[in-house]
């Protein structure tokens, strides 16, 4: 599982998570609210381009991100051209693309661990309120790291199931795959819970 984050040392990389998130959130909000305004749209696109250049990803990185969004473009453009005029379609498609690219810029320049750390810092002060509804910042962090660790485990379960199916000459069907995957995953959850309890995690 490779995070979408690209390591670097640019201005955007060094910007603290909170303000960076806020700037991008406000820009996206502005783009959605002033949707007919050409200047807002151009400003967002300029921000996106400057952001990519400043973050060291460059125009190559920009093109790579656009290519990742090829399906989105197809899904966006076809119905727009059926239902709306070309000008409206152009506005809508370029607005959605700009906002998605802007958000991608945040993801590309902020390490996952940094975002999760910021999450925990936000949750810490409201810990008493969380505990009233049976949650706690610690438990949420534990659940997040358990999830990350579980993805490769489940992928290896899937590989085992496929191998067993192939050995029996079975064609893969959703049900014949999901059923054993579920049982194996739930058993594994049980074992994980026991292992955690044995280590005194409550």
């Amino acid at each position: 599982m490779i995070p979408l984050y690209r390591a670097g040392d640019s201005l955007l990389h060094r910007m603290p998570v909170g303000p960076k998130f806020l700037v991008i959130f406000l820009a996206a909000l502005a783009a959605s609210l002033y949707r007919e305004n050409l200047w807002v749209l151009l400003a967002i696109w300029a921000t996106v381009l400057i952001g990519f250049i400043c973050s060291g990803l460059g125009l190559g990185g920009f093109a790579a991100q656009l290519w990742r969004l090829k399906w989105l473009v197809v899904v966006l453009v076809i119905p727009q051209l059926i239902f709306l005029t070309p000008t409206e379609a152009g506005f809508n498609v370029s607005r959605v693309l700009a906002v998605v690219l802007l958000a991608a810029l945040f993801t590309l320049t902020t390490a996952t661990s940094e975002i999760l750390g910021a999450c925990e810092r936000v949750l810490r002060p409201i810990d008493p309120q969380l505990q009233r509804v049976g949650l706690s910042a610690e438990r949420i962090s534990l659940a997040l790291s358990l999830t990350i660790r579980s993805v490769p485990v489940i992928l290896s379960f899937y590989a085992d199931i496929r191998e067993a199916q192939r050995a029996r000459g079975m064609r893969p069907s959703p049900r014949a795959t999901v059923m054993p995957l579920l049982v194996m995953s739930l058993r594994h959850a049980e074992e994980t819970a026991e292992a955690l309890a044995a280590r005194g995690v409550r």
Binding site: P79, V96, R175, S185, A197
Partner: protein
């Protein structure tokens, strides 16, 4: 502790289901088994843990891990036109769990009702307005666009119902929400 392990496991399971080679739909738009995982999360873990599992997944996606269908992820997901569908999984799984696990032993009609209502209707009810707004379309036009996905979702609902009831026989331990409710009621 068991609850946390189960929620994490299910969050990871939904993520993995989105990466598996999927059934290519006519027209080349690939559909994945990810929403099947959402339905199963609600049906098996019940409303709170089911919705919690999906919320965990969303936290990690927002933090930049490529856990949604075919390696998509990051904040961009929530800025795109399908954001409503993805976020609609949380109330979706909740409603599935609420209806499916309203009684113990589970009843087939309730599983069918819950899976269709929560797994399809609630998700669409969250997804369509966001999509219509983002793309500048009318709600009716957005509905028309998404009709293509309805057969796929119906098949996934059917698989979810069958799998839920098979699991009930094979490994009933995780269905603790419905069991505990009945035990609390009889006390």
């Amino acid at each position: 502790m068991r609850n946390i392990a189960q929620m994490s496991m299910f969050a990871a399971l939904v993520a993995v289901l989105g990466q598996l080679p999927a059934i290519p739909l006519a027209g080349g738009v690939p559909i994945t088994l990810q929403t099947l995982g959402v339905m199963l999360a609600g049906a098996i873990l019940g409303p709170w843990r089911g919705a919690g599992a999906i919320a965990l997944l969303h936290l990690l996606v927002a933090a930049g891990l490529p856990l949604l269908s075919h390696g998509s992820g990051g904040l961009g997901v929530y800025a795109g036109p399908t954001a409503g569908f993805a976020l609609g999984w949380i109330p979706g799984a909740f409603v599935v769990g609420l209806i499916v696990q309203a009684s113990w032993p589970l009843r087939l009609w309730r599983t069918i009702l819950g899976t269709v209502l929560g797994g399809i209707l609630v998700v669409y009810a969250c997804g369509l307005p966001v999509m219509a707004y983002q793309m500048g379309l009318g709600l009716d036009q957005a509905v028309l666009l998404n009709l293509a996905f309805l057969p796929g979702d119906a098949i996934k609902a059917a698989v979810a119902i069958a799998v839920t009831h098979s699991l009930l026989r094979a490994y009933p331990a995780p269905f603790s929400y419905a069991r505990d409710r009945v035990r609390a009621a009889s006390r």
